[in-house]
């Protein structure tokens, strides 16, 4: 079995056959009980492909929708729109026998090995269950298969009659992997498979996963929030933010020179393994917007450090420009929830303030800066709207005045380089400066 699939994988790697094709996939949750509440747009129009035998990493902060994407591919969540084609068949609409066959071909390894194994069942029963569900051969052969799998993942046959409680986290994850392998799937979704484990164990599990991939010609979707892990194991990487894939491309290239501003920011937040390479840290301000109410333009536009400015403000002082963005975020947060405004300001600029009205907020934000009179007038105008309780009007006013293409138009995935890299950013358009160039100026 192993030899044939290894040969197969070699062959398919050469022909670059597409295993999984995701086209404009959307997963929304309608869980709000309130009137006119927007659905949570956990996955908001995602397209990518996975080639047979490769490992695609899916990274992003928690809450960016990467787990939901994985669960949608697994048919644990229902897709709201779009297509997911496995070997050319759309799996979002499968049912009955076809769905069961799909359940045979795609498996998942879960993040938390404490929660992913039923602790009232023996290890043998746990690994055997998929075989039982799919009526795999005879019961005797199933038992033999389980013993074989235990050895495959580095456990011993006598562990068959033990319970998950008797194993360490790493061993439990091996059990989960054995269960995922039981039905000889071609595609495995690894949902942060090592993030709950000790660092010392992580490497062992990652090596095991790589060995298994080589042995059985597996295709992986590796979900992670840890970029270092992804760099180690993935051929290509997709970076997710607020339900969108911001950038996707070969791992090495992306880590060398990130194209998308978000990837830039994300990479600069991890410690550089090579201390001789100086990389300046870019700290992102604020938090991602609510996935119920994502920005109309670029998903990253509320926090992007290199956001395109309208022509008349290109020469505006960087600090003033940043404070304007902060002010817009303050209004956005204020319209989202009736939380104490001063708390938000305090959080955003990291300063102690007392309860403040709109005017105080302006003073707080722009007090020490020399703000052009025209800019200040616009800000005061918006503050007046907000003072009267109409944050939406204030936001619209500011968007009108200070907004750019980043606020109004959703960017396309534009090609970067010649190895199939795609990045969701207006700055790859010829008329603007490339993000990398702008970052250069920022850190100087």
């Amino acid at each position: 079995m192993s030899t044939t699939s290894t040969e197969e994988s070699k062959m398919t790697r050469e022909t670059q056959e597409t295993l999984l094709e995701v086209d404009d996939l959307k997963t929304y949750y309608e869980d709000g009980g309130l009137l006119n509440s927007n659905p949570v747009k956990a996955v908001d129009g995602v397209s990518f492909e996975i080639t047979r035998g490769e490992t695609l990493g899916l990274v992003g902060e928690s809450g960016c929708g990467k787990s939901t994407l994985g669960r949608t591919l697994m048919r644990l969540e229902e897709a709201t729109a779009g297509e997911v084609k496995l070997n050319g068949t759309d799996i979002t609409t499968l049912s009955g026998a076809d769905l069961k066959q799909f359940r045979n071909d795609v498996q998942m390894v879960f993040q938390d090995p404490d929660s992913s194994l039923n602790e009232r069942m023996t290890v043998g029963e746990i690994i055997r269950e998929p075989l039982d569900v799919h009526d795999w051969k005879t019961p005797d052969e199933r038992r033999a298969r389980v013993r074989e799998l235990l050895e495959t993942v580095g456990l011993q046959e006598e562990h068959y009659y033990r319970y998950p409680h008797q194993f360490s986290g790493g061993q439990r994850q091996r059990i989960g992997i054995a269960r995922a392998l039981a039905l000889e799937p071609e595609f495995i979704i690894l949902d942060e498979p090592v993030s709950a484990l000790d660092v010392s164990v992580q490497a062992k599990i990652l090596n095991l996963l790589e060995d298994l991939q080589n042995e059985f010609g597996l295709t992986y979707l590796f979900i992670a929030h840890d970029l270092a892990v992804v760099r180690h194991i993935c051929d290509r990487v997709a970076v997710m933010y607020l339900g969108n894939i911001m950038e996707i491309g070969p791992a090495d290239e992306m880590f060398e020179s990130p194209a998308n501003p978000y990837t830039h920011a994300l990479l600069s937040s991890i410690p550089e393994p090579d201390p001789t390479v100086a990389r300046d840290r870019i700290t992102l301000r604020g938090t991602p917007p609510s996935p119920r109410d994502p920005p109309a333009g670029c998903p990253f536009s509320t926090r992007c450090p290199v956001k395109i400015r309208p022509d008349q403000y290109t020469d505006l002082d960087d600090d003033v420009w940043e404070r304007i963005e902060v002010f817009r975020e303050v209004l956005r947060e204020r319209s989202r929830a009736e939380l104490s405004l001063s708390d938000r300001v305090r959080k955003l600029i990291g300063r102690e303030t007392v309860q403040a009205g709109m005017d105080d907020t302006l003073t707080e934000l722009f007090g020490g800066l020399s703000v052009p009179v025209s800019v200040m007038d616009h800000l005061k105008e918006a503050a007046d709207y907000a003072e009267n309780g109409d944050e939406d009007a204030a936001r619209a006013y500011l968007r009108e005045e200070f907004g750019s293409v980043c606020d109004s138009e959703r960017p396309d995935q534009l090609g970067v380089g010649d190895r199939g890299r795609l990045s969701l950013c207006h700055r790859h358009d010829e008329q603007y400066d490339e993000p990398a160039a702008v970052f250069e100026t920022l850190v100087q």
């Binding site: 644990l76 769905l99 929660s115 992913s116 269950e129 013993r147 046959e157 006598e158 409680h165």
Partner: protein
């Protein structure tokens, strides 16, 4: 110890390889069954008789009766025939009692033998479990071992278990425990005669049981009272004294235990099955299914339980349902309907908690069916919680049934019921006949306490951290 081949061996072969522990256990079992063989066969034949009765034309009726007759010849250890206590004094010695002992002593011997036998059987089962665990089980540790071990260290829970077992034994062996029989003393007293020694004429006389009963009632006054552990004028021994109408109180109490425990456990069993199934469904499907059941259970829980019971019993007063098993069937049905929302609510929280576990998603991801997910991956975690709430509410049902009978609504007379006994003796509480009300009352308190202690024990054994587990889960269920 575990090798590749051993994991494949079926239990029978594992026993064959190391037969001694199993053989010893089986031998003890054979002795325990042997001494009760007659009774066991009688039960089997009785069930056979019921089945034969269902066949039109009663083809084997004669055979069954002759079989039953012949089986009566087989001596059984725990039986009235083997250790008789109903005899009479002929002026110089006791006639017809076990080894010529006094009826009281003979009865005490039988009482002790019954309990000794019952605990021997339970001990034997426990020993069997331990032998299996030590010699034959393939897993050297299971999560359940911890629960068992924790319970073994829980004195209060064990006290509850012993009390509970004592009452269950009382219910199961009721016919052998009483100093007299239901049939003779309570149901058809005028169909039976007894011999007794007449002090005045110094001769052995005969009397109908019914007549004797009239002469031995406990009605407060000194000469009209048969106190616990005394003989009446007809030489009959009454461990708990007599009731107002002269019937033996102990016999009524043990049969009362039978009907109370049957109602409580069957009603709780039905309510538990409904509650558990619904908890599985709501936790698995959530959303609308949950909402529908919340509404249904809220509506039922909004009704005052006792009011519903009384109303229903009155409505069904003269129907055939009311007559099934002296009214117990109707009471069981009503209690199951009223109690399932309680059980469901108590275990809904734990059920939702377990439904959030990744192993549920894992099972779905490889295509496990919803039914199997609920059965294999959810129910085992919720079942123990259900056991806690069931054992805690059994007491409530027992009290309610007693309450209904006290009001004259529950179990129909003359079938003995604790509540009715209490009602009967109520007016004599402050008289020498205090025992009529007090003894059943104390027993109810004792069994309810025992069940609660048992429930506490299970809870602590399952979840040693959660010392306030029930409140938390119950309120969590209401969210």
């Amino acid at each position: 110890m575990s090798t590749q081949t051993e994991t494949e061996i079926p239990l029978r072969q594992r026993v064959a390889e190391n037969p001694q522990p199993a053989l010893v256990w089986a031998a003890i079992g054979a002795v325990l069954v042997g001494v009760e063989l007659g009774a066991i066969l009688q039960v089997v034949v009785a069930i056979g008789g019921v089945i034969v009765n269902l066949v039109p034309g009663d083809p084997g009726a004669a055979l069954v009766t002759s079989l039953q007759e012949s089986l009566k010849g087989i001596p059984t250890l725990v039986s009235r025939e083997f250790i008789p206590n109903q005899g009479y004094w002929n002026g110089s010695e006791w006639v017809g009692t076990f080894l010529g002992l006094s009826p009281g002593q003979a009865w005490a011997v039988r009482f002790v033998v019954v309990y000794a036998y019952a605990f021997a059987v339970l001990g034997w089962l426990w020993d069997g479990y331990k032998r299996y665990r030590q010699y034959y089980r393939r897993a050297d540790w299971t999560p359940r071992d911890d629960v068992v071990n924790r319970f073994r260290g829980h004195t209060w829970g064990q006290f509850g278990l012993v009390i509970t077992i004592a009452f269950v034994v009382m219910a199961v062996f009721a016919p052998a425990l009483g100093p007299t029989t239901m049939e003779q003393n309570i149901l058809q007293p005028y169909d039976y005669e007894i011999n007794y020694f007449d002090e005045e004429s110094q001769t052995v006389e005969t009397a109908l049981v019914g007549e004797a009963n009239i002469g031995s009632g406990s009605q407060g006054a000194g000469d009209e009272n048969v106190a616990p552990m005394t003989y009446d004028d007809y030489g009959r021994f009454h461990p708990f004294g007599t009731a107002t109408n002269g019937k033996d109180l102990f016999t009524q109490v043990v049969f009362g235990a039978r009907i109370s425990l049957t109602i409580a456990t069957v009603a709780m069993g039905i309510a538990g099955i409904i509650g558990l199934s619904l908890a599985m469904i709501t936790a698995y499907y959530k959303g609308l299914a949950d909402l529908a059941i919340v509404l249904a259970s809220d509506s039922i829980q909004a009704l005052p339980v006792i009011m519903v019971l009384i109303l229903m019993l009155v409505i069904f007063q003269n129907t055939w349902v009311r007559d099934l098993y002296d009214g117990a069937v109707l009471i069981i049905l009503i209690f199951s309907l009223v109690y399932w929302p309680f059980i469901w609510r108590s275990i809904r929280g734990p059920a939702f908690q377990v439904s959030e576990q990744d192993w549920i998603d894992a099972a779905k991801s490889f295509g496990q069916t919803p039914g199997q997910v609920m059965r294999k991956h959810m129910a085992p975690y919720v079942f123990s919680y259900m056991l806690i709430y069931a054992s805690l509410s059994l007491g409530g049902i027992i009290i309610s049934v007693a309450g209904l009978s006290y009001l004259g609504l529950g179990i129909t007379a003359p079938t003995p019921e604790w509540g009715r006994l209490i009602a009967d003796g109520q007016q004599y509480v402050a008289s020498p006949s205090w025992h009529i009300s007090l003894i059943p009352g104390v027993l109810i308190t004792l069994v309810v306490t025992g069940l609660n202690a048992f429930g506490d024990g299970i809870r602590d054994a399952i979840d040693p951290q959660a010392d306030t587990g029930d409140e938390a889960a119950a309120t969590g269920g209401g969210a």
